[in-house]
């Protein structure tokens, strides 16, 4: 029998340690991908890769994905290769399956002579050589890992407490922002040290066997909670599909996501094997994140993550699938399909979970605006500026969708303040605004997307990364209408006109601008059932234009007061009653 107090202490202490690591990392990192975008994860894992705890609040597509790093090291190098004082770097796509910027730094935790586990931090380095600056370097430019950047395959940066100086110099010489890379590495290693210390304290106090016993029970409890949620879903097989328009290389071929979800008692299987095969464009990855995120969202979204979180989930993705691509497939834009894949899995479950599943979200990682160049006012110093803007979320049975929020993968990612962008970089943000009419109509309306116009005051390069969901807009559910898809335009001079920006890099002169419009969320339920008072609010707030209200909600709008004309509306609707919808 485990002492209930010790059990709770262990249960609370591991997530507290992982969160402490995250806090430390975020506060001292050197690039906005970490401190603003929170593109990192911190975890404490066991000697064979089992997840003891992962921080809350980082990007979700790093969910429980560090086990493969440990399994690979143990399998190829052996457990004896780890020594106290070691620190290892790993980003190799053969195992990690993500873009090379995502650098894992990890350290072994020893209890006496015995390896207890690892403290691990994965963080997005702003540059790792090659074409790695910005998000996947745009379009189809990355054709293989060597074009993309440097690969680290379980390399010791610290050897029994001694820094590998030649390797440090090699890295500094081969990345574009060495101060940032070295600073981030320092922050990662400091965070690992914090995690290791917390584990050490706990083990010293209760003994390694008791801690292991408690962890086993904690995992069981988490698993049991998840099973309870799944048990409420009717047994059956649920199928859905969605897609990206293309992979930026083969433009007339959709990237299909096909999800078959099987519920049997408290077991749930997500089978993605019907999805597209490995593509020539760099949207490939090795990731189970889509299934994990969707599962977490419907089971225990607010609970800490641990090994029990996904034990009752089976994920099937066949080798060679674009989400389980074989090295050396290009993976520079590894994550952009994940939000769509999450949405597809949830959509499959919508008939069984009518009160839980929202309509489609804007559905891509989109909203990133990246500009790089040299700043003459700072002695020609090279800079890269980035901000990530949100889009519209799908409506759910009880709520309108949220406006302009980041995707399900991005959690606590925050846009860059306009004043911060303009203070640091030669940019002028002309507009950051909601997109009226972009939310899908419905009993509950989809959230609004956002439009952002940024002018560059010096020559440079925009990374255009368009949002390839035009032919598969964010879907409605239960009679709700789809949201408007997003787009990405460019204006080549300050008095020029907006035109399609394509999806590779765009070299521009001063006064040019990028416009990024993110999609709106899908609606939920029949638009004709939306209460007229809510349509009045939509009109007053200019979330919906009078023109669209009359078409989508079949009302008549009094243009003077900007409210629904009740009498005229009921006449208009009765005229339609006999006509087929």
């Amino acid at each position: 029998m485990i002492d209930p107090v010790t059990l709770e202490v262990v249960r609370n202490s591991f997530p507290a340690a992982a969160n402490e690591m995250a806090e430390d990392l975020q506060r001292t990192s050197y690039n906005m991908m970490i401190y603003e975008v929170r593109d990192f994860s911190c975890a404490i894992v066991g000697a064979s890769g089992e997840l003891f705890a992962q921080n809350i609040g980082g990007v979700s597509h790093f969910v429980a994905d560090l086990d493969v790093v440990i399994k690979d090291a143990v399998e190829r190098l052996g457990i004896a290769s780890f020594r106290p004082g070691d620190a290892i770097l790993m980003n190799h796509q053969r195992v990690c399956g993500q873009h090379l910027n995502n650098m894992v730094a990890y350290t072994p935790i020893f209890v006496g002579e015995e390896l207890f586990g690892f403290a691990m931090v994965r963080a997005h380095w702003v540059d790792i050589g090659g074409l790695s600056t910005g998000f996947g370097a745009g379009g189809g430019m990355v054709t293989d890992p060597w074009v993309e950047g440097l690969q680290f395959d379980q390399v010791k940066i610290m050897n029994e407490g001694v820094a590998n100086e030649p390797l440090m110099k090699f890295i500094a010489d081969n990345v574009r922002y060495p101060e940032a890379a070295m600073g981030d590495l320092r922050a990662q290693l400091a965070a690992c040290a914090v995690g290791a210390q917390r584990v050490q304290e706990l083990v010293d106090r209760y003994g390694v066997d008791v801690v292991r016993l408690c962890l086993a029970r904690v995992f069981d409890d988490t698993e049991a909670r998840c099973r309870m949620a799944i048990e409420r879903i009717a047994d059956g097989e649920y199928v859905a599909e969605g897609w990206l328009d293309h992979d930026f290389v083969d433009r007339d071929e959709r990237v299909m996501v096909v999800a078959k979800v099987t519920v049997s008692g408290s077991d749930l299987t997500v089978d993605l094997t019907g999805s597209s095969r490995t593509r020539r464009g760099s949207i490939n990855a090795r990731t189970r994140a889509a299934a994990f995120i969707a599962y977490k969202g419907i089971t225990a979204p607010l609970e800490p993550l641990n090994e029990g979180s996904f034990r009752a989930l089976r994920v099937e993705i066949d080798e060679g699938n674009f989400m389980m691509a074989t090295f050396p497939a290009p993976m520079a834009q590894w994550s952009i399909a994940i939000p769509t894949a999450v949405d597809v899995i949830l959509k499959a479950l919508a008939p069984a979970l009518a009160d839980v599943v929202p309509a489609g979200t804007y559905g891509t990682l989109g909203g990133a605006m990246v500009f790089f160049g040299n700043d003459p006012s700072r002695g020609g110093k090279r800079f890269v500026s980035q901000t990530i803007e949100g889009g519209g979320w799908g409506a759910s049975p009880s709520l309108d969708g949220q406006n302009a929020s980041v995707s399900v993968c991005q959690g606590d990612v925050r846009n860059a303040p306009i004043e911060s962008l303009e203070l640091k970089y030669p940019l002028l943000v002309e507009r950051r605004a909601l997109r009226p009419d972009s939310g899908g109509a419905g009993r509950r309306r989809g959230g609004l997307g956002q439009v952002t116009d940024i002018q560059n005051l010096v020559p440079g390069t925009w990374s255009m990364s368009s949002i390839p969901r035009e032919t598969c807009p964010p879907w409605g559910l239960n009679g709700g209408r789809p949201g408007q898809p997003g787009y990405c335009d460019v204006r080549l001079s300050s008095d020029g006109t907006w035109e399609n920006g394509g999806d590779t890099r765009k070299v521009v002169g001063a006064g040019a601008a990028q416009r990024k419009a993110t999609g709106g969320g899908g609606g939920w339920g029949d638009p004709l059932e939306r209460p007229l008072e809510e349509i009045d609010v939509d009109l007053l707030e200019e979330y919906v234009s009078p023109e669209r209200a009359e078409i989508d909600y079949r009302v008549v709008v009094d243009r003077a007061t900007l409210t629904v004309d009740r009498g005229a509306t009921s006449v208009r609707r009765s005229e339609f009653d006999d006509a087929p919808r």
Partner: protein, 683 residues
């Protein structure tokens, strides 16, 4: 010469007053009627018998601003912003801190979109003009806003923190054309970059402003009726006080003033006892709060959220850095669906309260567990006013929890208390470690009704060697208000590399803020020799985002001693984060100035031991030893009877009217000069 402090809580209004000449303490407590807040103050004044007409100061902590925001009962407010940024306030930062929550809701804005108006004007980040202010667009927005019935207007333009000319002009136009409206200009509250956070702060200020003004007028009428001729001072979130006229225009500065009194009092007691680093720990019925005290001052934070950190409204104003922990005496213990024992965050609150109060509570709480362990006296709780139903509590512990875990009532109680203690210990550790403080180098200063009950156990968990239980722990927060300085915080964003910055620019900015502080302090009629200033630079390594608020000595300001400033920063970075980079470039982000009028240091309380000598009873009390509960007959001392220098050896209980201190075996308490208990914790 009496100094009066009143504190308006959600349930009770508290009054504590002190006359240093006669060493007299007055106390009053009454219920709070949200519809007539000043009536509660009037009742307290009467009950306490404090001589109001001759009192020197009336220091007031009010929850009007925070409650107006939380209950959304503020003014109909309009927002004027730069063309192109109408939705910045609605969009916020676009984040969803609860990553996996498919139904995460962002904060509901205080100004709807249709009351947000774009004004034609634009500045560059340098402060230079991109487009002139179009005054016609201001007048047109103003007439639309008035047509829609607004009472208050917030104005927040891009880069106004560096050049406030356009905001200022808009303020003039509004005040001229619509003098009845409350106006809040973002640069008047803070001169710091980040438009969403600054706008949110300005909107909140405008939203709560009219109600705050009305309230302060009512308060002044009430005091005038009682012939009060002294100074009224309003408590601020930054741990200082200000005059009502400042509070009227900047009510947002009072937002988080509720919990700061305790931190100020803890800072004072720490410096009196020569304690450099301490955690102030305040535990009441529903929550516990922790704040750090370093070198005699509470730690500050430069921003906070109204509501909660996940989905609250950001406010970018300095605040005493108080962390809330969802565990108090009333926190409910329960087994969840997988059989894990949880404490809180649900609380039994004041009513029905814990089972042992006998007011109809049915779910066991931390207080019930303490009663079952004999840590709370069943017959002399609240001085014997309220007998505790220990049997009822014990039956519920076994029936709802222990039975399913195979534990008897006392073992269940011990588990509940120890889990609550661990939960609080983790939170206290997070507060200290995150801010670079090792708990082993700290003292724990514990107060509030339930603080002394758990303090020694929390300290043991964290290897904290010393616990201090101040006198009157139940009134400690109100006492803190009596010693708060008049304080005003100023900030200017000044983004440069430290090496390259023209030091005369920094000095100019510091001088400008000091002049502003001086003007404000003069308008508050403070004595010239009480005025002092503090200067800080927010620094970071080039490329980082988060800054450290680095104190700069006056000498270093005057002589531009960059090396010394930089060393302070490097050392702080190392202390706080475990690494530093002395070879890398350092950036200045903000310059901060604090203007203070220091109050004379007062000694409050003191041992009031009566001549009858230490009074002792004894009873059976359960303690955790070797991972299980062990009962032993132990001394129960009456705190008021203990003279200075008296030593209490654990295991023991020290009881007083509104609080109980628990000492485990080996803990050793000594009564200090002013009646505080200084406990050395057994490891």
């Amino acid at each position: 010469m009496t100094f009066i402090a009143t504190d308006i809580g959600g349930t009770f209004t508290d009054l504590v007053a002190y006359d240093p000449e006669t060493n007299t303490i007055y106390q009053g407590k009454s219920y709070t009627d949200p519809a007539a807040i000043t009536d509660g103050i009037a009742r307290c004044l009467e009950k306490s018998g404090v001589p109001i007409a001759t009192a020197a100061e009336f220091i007031h902590g009010s929850t009007i601003a925070i409650n107006t925001a939380l209950e959304r009962t503020g003014a109909r407010t309009a927002l004027f912003v730069t063309r192109g940024t109408r939705d910045v306030y609605l969009i916020g930062r676009g984040n969803r801190p609860e990553s996996y929550n498919l139904f995460f809701r962002r904060p509901v804005p205080f100004v709807p979109r249709h009351l947000t108006f774009e004004i034609d004007e634009r500045l560059f980040a340098s402060g230079e003009t991109h487009s002139e202010l179009d005054e016609e667009s201001v007048r047109s927005a103003l007439s639309s806003a008035r047509a829609r019935g607004v009472d208050s207007i917030a104005v927040s333009f891009l880069h106004s923190y560096v050049n406030p000319a356009h905001e200022r002009r808009v303020g003039e136009i509004i005040r001229q054309l619509a003098p009845e409206l409350f106006v809040s200009l973002s640069h008047e509250l803070m001169r710091e970059y980040r438009e969403y956070e600054r706008t949110s702060t300005t909107v909140i200020n405008a939203y709560v402003g009219p109600r705050m003004s009305a309230y302060l007028e009512a308060l002044e009428v009430l005091l005038a009726q009682r012939s009060f001729g002294g100074q009224v001072l309003i408590m601020q979130s930054n741990g200082g006080v200000m005059t009502p006229s400042t509070a009227r225009s900047q009510p947002a500065r009072t937002m988080e003033s509720g919990p700061v009194g305790g931190a100020i009092a803890a800072a004072r007691i720490a410096s009196r006892l020569g304690i450099d680093q301490a955690v102030a720990f305040d535990m009441g019925g529903t929550t516990a709060k922790a704040a750090l005290v370093r070198n005699g001052f509470p730690e500050m934070s430069d921003s906070y959220f109204v509501g909660d950190t996940m989905s609250g409204h950001p406010v970018m104003l300095p605040v005493v850095d108080v962390i809330e922990i969802g565990a108090g005496g009333g926190s409910i213990a329960y087994l969840d669906e997988v059989g894990a024992l949880n404490i809180g965050p649900e609380s039994a609150g004041g009513h029905p309260g814990p089972i042992c109060y006998g007011w109809g509570g049915l779910r066991p709480t931390v207080t019930d567990a303490n009663a079952v362990l004999g840590r709370l006296g069943s017959s002399n709780f609240l001085g014997g006013e309220m007998p505790l139903d220990v049997d009822g509590a014990a039956a519920a512990l076994v029936g709802q929890i222990g039975g399913r875990l195979g534990l008897d009532a006392e073992s269940t109680a011990r588990a509940i208390v120890d889990i609550a203690v661990n939960k609080m210990a983790l939170a206290v550790r997070a507060v200290s470690i995150d801010r670079g403080l090792d708990p082993r180098d700290c003292a724990l200063i514990a107060f509030g009704g339930a603080g002394p009950l758990h303090a020694c156990a929390i300290a043991r968990d964290l290897h904290i060697p010393t616990v201090v239980i101040p006198p009157l722990p139940g009134h400690f927060s109100a006492l803190g208000m009596l010693i708060a300085n008049i304080r005003h915080d100023f900030v200017r964003t000044c983004y440069r590399e430290l090496e390259e910055v023209q030091w005369s620019d920094v000095v100019a900015v510091v001088e400008e803020m000091r002049a502003e502080a001086r003007g404000l302090l003069d308008s508050e009629n403070v004595a010239a020799d009480s005025i002092g200033y503090e200067t800080y630079l927010d620094l970071r390594y080039s490329g980082q985002e988060f800054t450290l608020r680095t104190p700069v000595a006056d000498d270093d300001v005057a002589h531009g001693n960059k090396a010394s400033i930089r060393k302070t920063f490097d050392d702080m970075h190392l202390e706080r984060f475990g690494h530093f980079a002395p070879d890398e470039k350092v950036e200045v982000i903000n310059v901060r100035v604090v203007g203070l009028s220091r109050r004379p240091t007062q000694s409050i309380g003191g041992s009031s031991a009566t001549g009858e000598g230490p009074q002792r009873r004894s009873r059976e009390v359960g303690f955790t030893e070797g991972g299980r509960v062990v009962k032993s007959l132990c001394d129960v001392w009456q705190r008021e009877s203990l003279p200075t220098g008296f030593v209490v050896e654990g295991p023991a209980i020290v009881e007083e009217y509104a609080s109980t201190t628990v000492l485990a075996r080996g803990d050793r308490a000594v009564v200090g000069d002013e009646g505080e208990l200084v406990v050395t914790i057994n490891r």
